[in-house]
């Protein structure tokens, strides 16, 4: 995937990305997990567990909502990846991907088009939760620059998680299989520092959270909201995204090759 490849396929990736975004907005069952579910969970957690900030080792923050925003955003990106994967599997089931495979374009551009759509949905999710935070009294300590970093990290995470989903969709070819992975999203989330500071999580979950790449991404996003942008946090978050992205691309290429070779 070189810059020349991206340039040559930019129109196709853009068109397929635009279709993917429209598809999500036109099908409520794809959009709800990205915005509605994380918003509800955020409301419940903030309303019900707000006094957690008073725990002795809880990091010093302006408010519980400020601390929770990053978790809600990352939950949204995971679910955006899952929704994108379901939509991709539906495309495979109904034969729409065959229409794309029969066109004179790079077949990997088809996957990148889907991920471009997920990237845009990541931006939408980040802006949505930043707006909710600001409306309900959270402050973005990193200012405008911090907010832009948050949007960038969340969008990149969505695309990276979307890649994993795309690989599963290509391999399974059935929406029901992809849908079955939905609960895993919550297992991965709760085994990270998305909803609770890692230092307050009990063992062995704490050790898992310490090495969970999701924790690095969440902390990278949270730094910009709760504290101020830190180069170290940003580097760790980008490193985790790059790791997930590399695994995603590798698995997607393998799954794509398998599908094209076997026809299913």
């Amino acid at each position: 995937m070189t810059p020349a490849f991206l340039r040559a396929n930019l129109n196709v990736i853009g068109a397929l990305g635009a279709r993917s975004v429209k598809q999500t907005f036109r099908r409520p069952q794809l959009l709800a997990p990205i915005l509605v579910f994380p918003t509800l969970l955020l409301a419940i957690q903030t309303g019900g567990a707000g006094s957690a900030v008073n725990l002795p080792e809880f990091p010093a923050v302006n408010g519980f909502l400020d601390s929770m925003l990053a978790g809600a955003m990352i939950q949204s990106t995971l679910l955006a990846g899952n929704s994108g994967a379901i939509a991709f599997a539906v495309d495979i089931e109904m034969g729409f991907t065959d229409r794309l495979f029969a066109a004179p374009i790079s077949r990997f551009a088809i996957v990148l088009g889907r991920l471009a759509g997920t990237f845009v949905l990541g931006i939408v999710a980040a802006v949505w939760f930043l707006a909710i935070g600001l409306i309900f009294g959270a402050s973005i300590e990193g200012g405008v620059g911090g907010a832009l970093l948050v949007i960038g990290l969340v969008a990149l995470s969505a695309a990276a998680f979307g890649g994993l989903g795309a690989a599963i969709a290509l391999r399974a070819g059935r929406a029901s299989v992809v849908q079955g992975l939905f609960p895993l999203v919550f297992v991965i989330l709760f085994l990270s520092s998305a909803f609770f500071p890692a230092n307050l999580i009990l063992e062995p979950a704490r050790s898992v959270a310490d090495y969970n790449p999701l924790s690095f991404i969440v902390e990278g996003v949270r730094d910009n909201i709760v504290f101020s942008p830190s180069l170290e946090g940003l580097a760790e978050a980008l490193g985790a995204i790059a790791l997930i992205g590399a695994i995603s691309i590798s698995l997607t290429v393998l799954a794509l090759r398998h599908r094209l070779r076997t026809g299913g």
Partner: protein, 324 residues
């Protein structure tokens, strides 16, 4: 140079299922070639290999002069494909779908818009262009699928069962459009399980059964191969003997069926008028007279020993034919 050429084309799936077992075929430029066979005969697998969607496990094929394995991208540039069951996104509008298809073929945005308008008009979908595909009837979807396959003006058009499940009116609308495209110079390769479709449209027919082509020729020659037309003369019971004597002058009498006297006409359909005159001269009062031509189903039975599934037309929804 043939538009499509396959030599010993094979496809075996991982579970040792042989879907296509060595297909040889040649379709000349400007022809309509119908690939006729029942469900599971290997039609769709062959089309998927010819359209580069599936890699052959044996043999070779060239489409528009390009090898389907080594020059797959060139093949895809030269062909239009409308697959079985019209794989359309129900959430897109007809116009969006054709514009997307134009982008996939590297057509510029203004040109894509122009082509979309032109094609939607051609298939009679201008008024429905901005409606979501999910609201379209089966016939409208097929027409949209056909239009999207034409956006880049392909040299060879592959249609996989383009009218399966459609009512007779919608089916005829598709046939008209396919004939028109062919008149404009497009080579058409279509798969079908409808005998009438192959008979009406095709210059050449390939009959496939269990992954092999069992017969290939023009519809007329294939039918001539299995027998001449026969005449069924319905006549009063007490006049059967005389009628049999009269018709025997024109060919081989066949066993009587449903109270009718049957004769296989030695010189074909051109003798019908002479037979009628002879019956009249003999003072016989004919109740009805039917000329029965061999059908492609007869060819199919002769070649495979079984009838073709889907030989009878299905009925489905009815809808208006697009305005000419």
């Amino acid at each position: 140079m043939p538009a499509i050429e396959a030599k010993s084309l094979e496809r075996t799936f991982s579970d040792d299922v042989v879907a296509v077992a060595g297909v040889d075929l040649e379709v000349n430029e400007g022809q309509i070639y119908a690939f006729l066979g029942p469900n599971g005969a290997g039609k769709t697998t062959t089309v998927r290999m010819l359209t580069t969607l599936l890699r052959p496990t044996g043999g070779s094929a060239r489409v528009a002069g390009f090898d389907v394995i080594d020059e797959a991208a060139d093949v895809r540039r030269a062909i239009g494909v409308a697959l079985q069951e019209a794989a359309l996104d129900p959430l897109m509008t007809g116009r969006e779908l054709i514009r997307l298809q134009a982008t996939l073929h590297g057509i510029s945005r203004p040109e894509g818009r122009r082509r979309a308008d032109e094609l939607l008009d051609r298939v009679g979908l201008t008024r429905a262009a901005d409606r979501r595909v999910g609201t379209y009837s089966g016939g409208m979807r097929r027409r949209l699928d056909l239009a999207s396959a034409l956006v880049h003006e392909p040299i060879v058009l592959f249609l996989d069962e383009p009218t399966t499940g459609l009512d007779p009116v919608s089916r005829k609308a598709i046939w008209q459009e396919v004939s028109k495209l062919n008149d404009e110079g497009t080579t058409v390769f279509l798969t079908t399980q409808y005998l009438e479709e192959a008979d009406q449209l095709a210059d050449n027919v390939g009959i496939i059964s269990a992954g092999r082509i069992v017969a290939e020729d023009t519809p007329a020659r294939l039918k001539a191969e299995v027998g001449r037309p026969h005449l069924e003369v319905k006549i009063a019971e007490d006049e059967h003997a005389l009628a049999t004597e009269v018709v025997a002058r024109f060919g081989q009498p066949l066993p009587s069926k449903d109270g009718a006297v049957l004769v296989e006409l030695a010189r074909g359909a051109s003798e019908v008028a002479t037979v009628v005159r002879a019956l009249d001269d003999a003072g016989l009062c004919v109740e009805s007279l039917d000329l029965v031509e061999p059908t492609l189903d007869d060819v199919f039975v002769a070649k495979t020993g079984q009838h073709l599934e889907g030989g009878e037309t299905e009925t489905g929804e009815t809808e208006a034919i697009p305005a000419p």
